[in-house]
């Protein structure tokens, strides 16, 4: 399982990324891409319950960052969380069933896309509140310390969330107590219709770490290996007890804000420019250039992944709607 391997390799600098791991990462990025494409289809068919925020274009962040996680590490996700879940190895069938609001979904249809959770796999939950998950991650780290558990917490959020008060309060608290948290800002440069430059004074999320005397880094979020190296350094820092890191990953979303809010106000040429920076295409070329795999081999991976996604979709579509009585149960533990 790559998570374990990479976290071992993480101890032995200089960091060598094995062929297997590279193919594993390529496979995971393709899986996320196919999964999200499938959601678009399901939405066209009117099967998505509510909304879904697609991760297309940002796959390198979830895959690169989660590769630095160990089996027992935790993460908090966002409204745009499918990528994090898949990178952590959640079951796509149960994920899709949840997105369709079916009985076999992770939350039995109660949560939908914005609340997929699997604590057993360390996914503390997606979150419908922008910035809502950041203090949760800090609290989880606090709890782990009290439990003498040396796992660490990865906290994903968008650049738009970096303007929320919860970001400020949580980072201050994490730095004060030197908590083992890796804050990963997925800066796709837009928050719904709000551009990064018009809403973020200072024009950098990473630089905000200065305010908290926190380590920080800013990387190409479309380069899976760059993300991995930065996340891995941050993870090691956290494991050493040297405190949290704020890691900003620059990327872009290829699709509209969500399947519910599709209206596009971003400049077409900007979108086109970034689609040319596609993280999967880039990795594909790299793997071929460096003779890690042939185009046909990668093609096979692609085909295999798409088969897996299709069967997940089939599973989800065949899953029944939750029993009506369940609407009124499960409010309290």
């Amino acid at each position: 399982m790559s998570t374990a391997q990479t976290s071992e390799s993480a101890e032995t600098r200089p960091l060598t990324i094995s062929r297997e791991i590279r193919l594993e990462w390529y496979t995971r990025m393709c899986t996320i891409r196919h999964f999200e494409r499938e959601i678009v289809q399901l939405n066209r068919a009117g099967l998505v319950a509510g909304t879904a925020h697609l991760y297309i274009g940002m796959e390198a962040i979830a895959v690169g960052a989660c590769a630095a996680m160990r089996e027992n590490d935790l993460l908090t996700s966002t409204h745009r969380g499918h990528g994090h879940c898949i990178a952590r190895g959640l079951d796509m069938g149960h994920m899709m069933a949840e997105i369709l609001g079916r009985a076999d979904g992770y939350c039995h249809g109660k949560g939908g896309s914005m609340h997929i959770t699997d604590v057993s796999r360390g996914v503390l939950g997606a979150d419908g509140i922008v910035g809502g998950g950041i203090p949760l991650a800090v609290g989880a780290a606090l709890g782990l310390r009290l439990k003498r558990n040396n796992s660490i917490v990865f906290c994903f959020f968008g650049e738009g969330a970096a303007n929320q008060g919860s970001f400020h309060e949580a980072l201050n608290l994490a730095s004060l107590r030197q908590l083992p948290v890796v804050f990963i800002c997925e800066n796709n440069q837009w928050a719904l219709s709000a551009s990064f430059s018009e809403t973020t004074a200072g024009q950098s999320v990473a630089r905000r770490a200065v305010a908290y005397a926190m380590a920080s880094d800013r990387v190409d979020g479309n380069d899976v290996e760059a993300v991995f190296r930065a996340a891995n350094d941050a993870a090691e820092r956290a494991r050493r007890g040297s405190g949290p890191t704020l890691l900003e990953c620059i990327t872009y979303r290829h699709e509209g804000h969500s399947v519910f809010t599709r209206q596009e106000i971003r400049p077409t040429d900007e979108i086109e420019h970034w689609k040319k920076q596609d993280p999967i295409e880039r990795y594909r070329s790299l793997l071929i250039a460096e003779d890690i795999a042939s185009a046909s081999k990668l093609g096979e991976i692609d085909a295999e992944v798409s088969r897996l996604v299709s069967s997940a979709a089939a599973f989800a579509k065949n899953s029944p709607s939750p029993g009506l009585a369940t609407a009124f149960s499960g409010v309290y533990a």
Binding site: R102, K110, G112, G132, N163, T261, V331
Partner: protein
């Protein structure tokens, strides 16, 4: 109202109200997330940026507390901000600014401060966005002295009430059920205002009074049509403004019919329906022939699965069932 009317949507009516007030008074401005470039998540502020420019149509960062706080601060210096929350659920981030500041400054300062602030937000569920995007928390705000709370059910009421809210010198919560935005209705073309604090008889009747708010007014009217075929005449009354409440009109109807059903999209425990029950119980106890029935969103977080969401939300059937119970008792 004026004879020359036009059929427009609830969202268009709100947009007209904002446009007219911004044209009338240069100190009126709107602020919130995606209100400018996008024209609002539900299009209520559509086109305002183009007409009034970025100083009066302010796209903000995702900073709900600062949006509300800046609204209060700008109101304190005499401008008339209209701020938008994308979902009422997100007001939870700004409660200090709304409750400890906007609502209390007038009284706390012995009348020195004036806070002419309008806070708009869509409420409740219906499109499967789940528990963090589906709340109807009007009861919280009615519980806070110093706030006014408005919740219209038709395009015409929405327009006339929003214009009055903008001109009001107090903080006013203006709550819009998200399923109503696309509903159309006749709206007078000539300018008009509807004063805050005036309830409306949406359908006169004799057998039982239904007091309904927002979206549920339409469920109550549908129920009235259904029951009419059984010879049952419901009187459907809409408060329109929950605070201040036009209690006389409500009491008059209950004294006439002696039976009452209260319908509201908020959760039932400590909800707005309970407040109406308490008020009527106080003044109309001896006129009541049967217990007051309440129809509210069930006391659970809103689920996403369509079938579950339907179970939890108020339906026409729920209203009919409650009316029959109120009549049988």
């Amino acid at each position: 109202m004026n004879a020359s009317v036009k059929e427009i949507s609830y969202a268009e009516a709100l947009n007209q109200a904002l446009r007219e007030e911004m044209r009338r008074d240069p100190l009126v401005f709107v602020m919130g997330e995606d209100v400018g470039n996008l024209g609002g998540l539900f299009k209520v502020t559509n086109g305002l940026l183009q007409e009034f420019g970025p100083d009066r149509v302010i796209d903000t960062p995702i900073s709900e507390a600062a949006i509300a706080g800046a609204g209060v601060g700008s109101a304190l210096v005499g401008t008339r901000p209209v701020i938008e929350f994308q979902f009422m659920d997100f007001m939870t981030i700004a409660m200090d600014q709304i409750v400890n500041h906007a609502a209390k400054l007038r009284y706390m300062t012995g009348g020195i401060a004036t806070v002419p602030l309008v806070i708009r937000a869509p409420i409740c569920a219906g499109v499967g966005l789940g528990a963090q995007h589906s709340q109807s928390l009007e009861a919280w705000f009615v519980h806070v002295p110093g706030l006014k709370v408005v919740m219209p059910s038709t395009p015409a009421d929405a327009k006339g009430l929003l214009k009055s809210a903008v001109r009001d010198n107090n903080p006013v919560l203006f709550l819009e059920h998200r399923l109503l935005y696309s509903q159309t209705g006749p709206v007078p073309e000539e300018e008009y205002l509807i004063p805050l604090g005036s309830a409306d008889v949406k359908r006169p009747g004799t057998d039982l009074t239904v007091i309904a708010t927002g979206r549920t007014v339409h469920l109550a009217l549908a129920a009235a049509r259904t029951l009419a075929s059984d010879g049952i005449e419901l009187e459907v009354i809409e408060p329109r403004t929950l605070q201040p409440l036009d209690i006389e009109l409500l009491e008059g109807s209950v004294r006439k019919t002696s039976r009452l059903v209260v319908v509201n999209d908020g959760c039932r425990s400590c909800g707005y329906a309970a407040e109406i029950v308490a008020r009527i119980m106080e003044t109309c106890f001896y006129h009541l022939d049967a217990p007051i029935q309440m129809v509210c969103t069930r006391d659970v977080p809103m689920p996403v699965a369509p079938a579950l969401q339907k179970e939890v939300m108020v339906s026409e059937e729920d209203v009919i069932r409650a009316c029959r119970a109120g009549l049988a008792a």
